[in-house]
Subunit: 196 residues, 4 copies
């Protein structure tokens, strides 16, 4: 039991180290030794806990996706969505997404990195597809409470996620303040209110 914990902790330590490394180098350019150095462990242990660099990557992606899904669950659990009015609901959703995702620059960077890896790696692509599908579906389910047309609900949720991702993309390239990100997000939010 204690053993398992130690193992899991070590793995997390390594994944967190990779997370840090990715803020300054691409995964491709990040060497096993870089990660080890950042984690403060011998590079050999990375091969002890993971079967190779690809395994680290895949585990890392799971870790990132799990983490942000946990955040989403936590957010949902913390409020009584059932009794929200339409605009209260939208306010809350945007507040959450804007602050935790779209305007979270370091998360956005990580995701751009993952999108790129997905371009050439089917397994990563699968993970991404699954994560976004779930996101769209859960958002769609929430929207459905405020709208009749289910197809519209789904399409709106796809559009919302696409828009958020596009904005996140911009946040990695434009220095804060350059693009009127907040304003644009607010404008978009207003349109969504109008639609629902």
């Amino acid at each position: 039991m204690a053993r398992k914990k130690v193992q899991e902790e070590r793995r997390l330590q390594i994944l967190r180290a990779l997370d840090t490394c990715l803020q300054e180098k691409s995964f491709e350019k990040t060497s096993i030794k870089d990660i080890a150095r950042e984690a403060g462990v011998n590079h050999g242990v990375l091969h002890y806990y993971f079967s190779g660099k690809e395994d680290i990557l895949l585990s890392y992606i799971d870790y990132v996706i799990d983490d942000y899904q946990a955040q989403a669950r936590e957010w949902m659990g913390g409020r009584d969505l059932e009794h929200y009015t339409k605009s209260q609901f939208i306010d809350e959703v945007f507040a959450f997404v804007n602050n935790r995702i779209t305007l979270n620059k370091s998360l956005s960077r990580i995701f751009v990195e993952i999108w790129e890896i997905a371009l050439y790696n089917g397994e990563v692509r699968g993970k991404l597809r699954e994560a976004y599908t779930r996101w769209v579906e859960e958002l769609g389910a929430m929207i459905s409470r405020h709208i009749e047309d289910k197809t519209l609900a789904r399409n709106v949720s796809i559009a919302m996620v696409a828009f958020w991702e596009g904005m996140a993309l911009f946040s990695t390239v434009f220095p804060p303040g350059t693009l009127a990100m907040e304003e644009v997000l607010k404008g978009f939010q207003q349109r969504i209110v109008d639609i629902l």
Copy 2:
């Protein structure tokens, strides 16, 4: 003069080869020899025409951006935007962007690759910033003809580009038909019509 032309042709040949290579491997994993093989030239010449791998990359990005700006100019030149009605204008813009950009999967892949490189490379980031800034501005200028509020025009154009980019991102991960891309694009287009 002729000399210059030959040189320029050789460079283009190499950049086109890289373009092909990027459809199956990341830039990082694409070797100079891969590009040379694809271009049908000896790998040594790549160092004659370019100062190194990074130089090829930078030139390639210019080439890609120039190419798509040329397409945009050609499109704009080919029609009399001045006399378009609002909805005609929007129809045309979406038709162009959807077909040539958002749903152009191989272009989207290239751009995801470039976005990722920009994450860690200031020069590339600059090129991207400039390209998107220009895009937003030109779109904003066009929109301005149909709307009073100039700030709104700009914000709408930012939102449009962000949305298109998000959809392009999705197109690289979701098999065609999985997400109701066309429908979502059409729905979004309708909202833009409503706004203007």
Copy 3:
């Protein structure tokens, strides 16, 4: 005493595991962990019972040689060689050697492996020299009972062992039935009868 037995049993368990491993990988490519896995023990204990990988090897070679000498002794002990006729004797010797050694493919493989190690390892070479010397001498002694010329007896026994080893070598490379091994062995046996 009991302690010693347990220890000895553990060592044997490990050596038998190595024996199994060598059927599919060279000693060089067989890792300590491979052996441990095969033996069903933790790899750490291999360093407890043996001083290192080389020590395992040396012990293993002793084990193999001891084992096959034990077989020989058992064979000799089981029959009254004193009263055999010349051809009875030859029949018996060949029957034993052919079945237990020359045509024992997995033993032959092990020996090829050991011969190769002996090429570069003086200690192993010594063990091999000693084992073959003893074999030649014991065979020579048996032959001497049926022949006057002692030098001839020795030379014949050397030739016999060489021939058997050569045939064993072939058995590791030629699929059974490819070379007419049995027939050749029988023909050779006949010549030996003729000589004695």
Copy 4:
């Protein structure tokens, strides 16, 4: 043309370097850098001329086998076997094999190494099988000129090769003079004369 020559020369240089290395270390323990050092070239070139360590090995084995088949051809070409008497023929064959093969200690070492590799490597095993098959067949064809029974001819040639190989094996382990190698070989030769 000249290019090809240079390439072939370089490859040979590397294979000869491996040959030298194998006199003191097994192939497994010989590193690419060892071979490069021995050949007096940068280790990178080994990957330029060969696709990897296995390719070097395979090429080397071809080189060794070709070399010794060339020796055999040269030997055969140099004498008028048609007009030899039986015992002249046997004399010559043994003289050649004894000196060039069986008692050529460094060649024997190489072959023991190759036999061992063949144990675990199907491609090498195939090469060995082919080489020995050819050897047995050519020897059998020569013997057939002096004997009626074709099956016997073949079996005798198998036995001869097996015996020679066994003796070669001994030569790698017993210091010269320890075993009465020459005498044994002479005795064996006499038996062959008797048979034919």
